[in-house]
Amino acid sequence: MSDRTLVLIEDDAGDALLVSEMLFDVDPDLHVTQFATLQSAIDSWPIEAECVLLDLGLPDAFGLSALEKLQAHVPDAPVVVLTGRLDDASGPAALAAGAQDFLVKGQVDAPGLERALRYAVERGRATTYQRELIAAEVRAEENSRLQRGLLPSPLIQTDELRFAPFYRPGRERALLGGDFYDVVQTDTGVHLLIGDVSGHSLDEAALGVALRIAWRSLVLAGLSQPDVLLGVEKVLLAERGDDERYASVATVSLDPDFSTARVALCGHPAPLLIKADSVVELVAEPTPALAIAPGISPQLTTVHLAGDWGLLLFTDGLIEGSVSPGAVDRLGATALARHVEALIGRSIPRHSLASNLLAEAERRHGGPLPDDVAVLTVGTCGWWG
């Protein structure tokens, strides 16, 4: 034990000397910093103190008010109070007010003092952990609120299509990033969205919610596919709050009988089309990601979808993992398409396609993927099986 500091707030020089001597006997490495008034101690904060030993009979603060004033300024430090008399009720009252322990002057020996301080430090740590736990719970609640905003229920009436959304936050965080998706049906067909706000914090997650709702609103308002994206871009430019943030987006609009798909790619990886046992990228002319070069109307690529089919919309987190642990090369969309083919060949249930793809990507990467992963699997009932 070394480099530890105890703050002693005690105006009586004799008592202060006595306490310092006792502490030196049991723990010579403990450094004691003494203040004669409460105000001088508070003025000197922050001090890296393990514990505060506070006399309740100070010239500038007396009794419980001394403790309350100290805690108001230094809420995290464990406090042990010193009282003058054995029959003094202020000791137990101080415990009730948040002190870790109380000691009666003249009644305590060196080992007793050392033990009281050690317990106080440990209890103080436990209190800190408790507080951190509560903070973590609050963050988790915030997260789940955002999650509801980012991961909506499809707004559809048809029972001819099936959907399975999937979302996994990136490594080292239980936090969501800015990946988002949505599904909306109107009288012009079924419209699919997947997107990714650059960056990985709650700000991006909140922006992702805003963009998804903007997209949903504009689709419901009946705008054309390119105009919806131009509108979402305007919302992003207005809401993003800095110059760097942009969003990659892919949208697919299916006509009412699900026989053609119109694909728009704004800086986003192409969705995969799965028919029988073949998997192809729905390559479309790429437009820059939203907010990078504002005002460019995305070009649509039309794909004919006869018979049963499945579509896989995903964010780049799924393909940015390494091809093998520590490798520089990344998985990429082509290898992903091969993984999908292999899974389809093994008749993996469609609703667990995405989780299987993630597991395979993580296996190759050699651990959790760095970025968030969102996948939207869509298909006809016949394809879904």
């Binding site: 650059s198 760097e244 942009y246 800086g267 790429p286 990601a289 990078i292 460019i296 990344r330």
Partner: protein
């Protein structure tokens, strides 16, 4: 992996050679460097990312932010890269339409944009 930065001056251009990974963890370092250069009056930047192994969306955002900053001063930001892996990211995100990309620093220096 970390990010390495080395900067030199070539006439009126500033060449920044970047190595390693530009991702969510290292991108702030590049961002600060670009901001410092622009604040110091360097408005014509060549960012050589030939030595970059990985670039994620945050890294792309930093380059886009750098481009916006130099454009405020009628400057330019050229990229140097021949790696397919990285060029593909620029194609997918549509950034080939935004950044002039050259095969070598000399080609970037010779270009007049």
């Amino acid at each position: 992996m970390d990010l390495s930065l080395s900067t030199r001056t070539e006439g009126d251009r500033t060449v920044i050679a970047v190595g390693g990974e530009i991702d969510v963890y290292t991108a702030p370092k590049l961002r600060e460097h670009l901001i410092d250069l622009v604040s110091g009056g360097s408005y014509h930047l060549i960012v050589d990312i030939e030595g970059v192994d990985f670039l994620d969306s945050t890294g792309l955002g930093v380059l886009v932010g750098g481009l916006k900053r130099v454009r405020h001063h009628e400057g330019s930001l050229q990229l140097v890269c021949t790696q397919d892996r990285i060029l593909k990211i620029f194609r997918i995100t549509g950034l080939t339409k935004v950044f002039p990309i050259y095969a070598t620093v000399d080609e970037a220096l010779a270009a007049n944009d």
